[in-house]
């Protein structure tokens, strides 16, 4: 009965249009009141959820992303990507995919990626005669790679969500994400090329030559080094994940203010302010999701869901498919952090029981959540992409199918072929 209260009040608030975090919070409050427990418990769990040392990486990654945006690192990455693949058919689309992947490596979230790359690439593509829906889809999908690339705060959220179920280290998860990220990039390139051919987008100019590529690469190198710092820092044991993230901020300030000299004091303050607001939004969701998760545990939702799924089938392939399907459905209307925190305790035990490695599960989950960022009704990267491209979510649907297919293909491969995610971490055992 408590569960019914929880679910119905949550759905009602969400449909009414109450922001997701407040919907989750009020639904939890309603449940507490119904079951006769003190309301204060919701807020205790919320503070507990926010106050995890590893979550400090989130404000840092967000901050570093803002600094890179204001400091011109995104521009230089675009230039490099363009010199590399700009001459292929649908060239700007291809550059966009490559650029987003590279920026995804340095920025903490898909959202930072789409706003940074999108604000450079989408207007440019439109000016060159590409349709707005194509420009937006290429960007928003390529940006999803950022979710899997090393400096992703979602990786950290996942490791924390596994507490008490399995021990997953940030270290192995970071390594596990790299090949799927490249796979996703390849799928995105395929989709971008397919649509470009079908619509007959022009080729533009020739290959500028390796000297030009090298020059552009060197220009973007100081920015790209951030990902090297983070990876090397964590892998060598110099830093914890949190410390690397803080170092990334230092580096971003250093590069943009002293090397590129593109970051003014005013821009720096603006980046700080935006990082604070974004931190508030993300950590509130994380905190309130832990309160929600408390009720899920209290009312044994994971056990019940597990039983239900096992009653449908005991074939791992079917179970994994069901998990993906449910994650997809939840991901359409839940935010990424919330999906990870709420769903990991539910599905991870079942996945592990049917032979999936927790690390592999993490990558599957992240790709699924990434997909959710681009699906209505709540798809934040899609919103931002559409806003930049000045089109509606309806219009963007015109050319989205190839991109969804690309994501789906990548998801299927990672779900059913463990080597994609597990091979790289196994080398470091």
């Amino acid at each position: 009965m408590e569960l019914t209260v929880l679910c119905i009040s949550f759905a009602a608030l969400l449909v009414l249009g109450v922001p997701v975090a407040f919907s989750i919070g009020l639904a939890s409050v309603a449940t507490v009141v119904y079951s006769g427990m003190p309301v204060a418990i919701v807020f205790q769990k919320m503070v507990g959820g926010m106050q995890v040392f590893s979550f400090l990486a989130i404000p840092f990654f967000v901050f570093a992303g803002e600094l890179m945006l204001y400091g011109g690192i995104a521009d230089r990455i675009v230039r490099f990507a363009n010199s590399l693949v700009g001459h292929v058919r649908g060239g700007l689309g291809m550059s966009n995919v490559v650029g987003c992947t590279l920026f995804g490596g340095v920025a903490g979230s898909a959202l930072a990626d789409v706003s940074a790359m999108g604000s450079v690439m989408i207007p440019l593509m439109k000016k060159e005669g590409y349709d707005a829906d194509y420009a937006v889809n290429v960007t928003t999908h390529a940006a999803l790679v950022g979710v899997l690339m090393p400096t992703s705060h979602n990786l950290i959220i996942f490791t924390l969500a596994t507490t008490g179920i399995a021990s997953v280290s940030v270290f192995s998860l970071i390594l596990a994400g790299i090949i799927p990220a490249l796979l996703l990039t390849a799928c995105n390139l395929g989709a971008a090329y397919y649509v470009a051919r079908k619509r007959g987008y022009p080729t533009r100019g020739g290959f500028p030559g390796w000297a030009e590529v090298l020059k552009a690469f060197l220009g973007s190198l100081p920015g790209l080094l951030i990902v090297v710092i983070i990876l090397a820092g964590i892998l060598s044991g110099i830093f914890t994940a949190t410390e690397s993230a803080a170092t990334a901020v230092f580096w971003a300030v250093l590069v943009t203010a002293l090397v590129y000299k593109t970051l003014s004091w005013k821009d720096f303050l603006k980046a700080c302010a935006k990082a604070c607001k974004a931190t508030g939004v993300v950590l509130l969701l994380i905190g309130i999701s832990s309160a929600f998760g408390y009720f899920m545990a209290l009312y044994e939702v994971p056990e019940k869901t597990g039983e239900l799924m096992k009653s449908v089938s005991d074939n791992p392939l079917v179970i994994f498919f069901m998990i993906n399907l449910l994650l997809f459905v939840l991901g359409t209307f839940l935010d990424m952090a919330a999906t990870i925190l709420v769903c990991t305790p539910i599905f991870l035990p079942i996945a592990v029981q049917f032979g999936m490695d927790p690390v592999q599960f993490g990558i599957v989950m992240l790709i699924n959540c990434a997909l959710g960022l681009n699906t209505p009704p709540v798809g934040v990267t899609q919103f931002v992409g559409c806003a930049i491209g000045e089109i509606s979510v309806g219009q963007v649907m015109k050319s989205i199918l190839p991109f969804y297919s690309a994501l789906g293909l990548c998801l299927a491969l990672v779900t059913y072929v463990p080597a994609f995610s597990l091979w790289l971490p196994s080398l470091f055992k």
Binding site: V47, L69, Y70, V120, A273, F383, V393
Partner: protein, 199 residues
């Protein structure tokens, strides 16, 4: 391309009215005048002040974590207060960020049904939404206060401040959320728009 030409970022609200999840494109239907009455100016001041404090906190956070690294490698003496202080600071940065997010309409939600309604009903529903946010803010402040008083005599290891200080952040956030949501309701009734104090 200059950095100034790059618009939308994570919590940017010039381009996305993320509270309702609708991209406000050039063809946005309701462009209302900015709120400038006394209460709104008071809230704008609070919002700006909160953000300034949050920025200071964020920089403090980074320094804490960096100091920990320096302590460990250079002085071979890990400062044990650094992590505890960082965890304390992040709560306050979050609390202030959450509140400003409410004022700047930065929280993510969906607007599938509301957008189908007539302008009049839409206004009413938006008022109800802000009413729910007021409720949440009030509960947050109340529960926060309960924990603050309950945990004030319990002193945190390594930092020497009361555990209750963690929950005081909730009181701060809760009160600000209530104030800012009321500002939104007033603005809706007066057919005005709350303009972010610092972007």
């Amino acid at each position: 391309m200059t950095p100034a030409a790059l618009p939308a970022t994570v919590a940017d609200n010039e381009n996305v009215n993320a509270a309702t999840g609708t991209p406000l494109t050039a063809s946005a239907t309701h462009e209302r005048p900015a709120s400038t009455h006394l209460y709104s100016r008071f809230c704008a001041f609070l919002s700006k002040a909160s953000l300034v404090l949050a920025v200071i906190g964020l920089i403090g956070l980074i320094l804490c974590v960096q100091f920990q690294v320096v302590g460990r490698y250079i002085f071979n003496d890990t400062p044990t207060w650094a992590e505890a202080l960082a965890l304390q600071l992040v709560l306050y940065v979050t609390a202030l960020g959450v509140a400003v997010g409410v004022r700047d309409a930065g929280h993510i939600g969906l607007e599938s049904l509301v957008s189908l309604l007539s302008e009049k009903w839409r206004l009413r529903v938006e008022i109800v939404i802000h009413g729910f946010v007021v409720l949440f803010g009030a509960l947050m402040a109340q529960s926060g206060w309960l924990w603050t008083t309950l945990k004030w005599s319990d002193i945190k290891p390594m930092l020497g401040v009361p555990v209750g200080a963690d929950y005081l952040a909730l009181v701060v956030a809760g009160v600000l959320i209530v104030l800012f949501s009321i500002e939104h309701i007033v603005a809706l009734i007066r057919n005005e728009e709350v303009v972010p104090a610092w972007n």
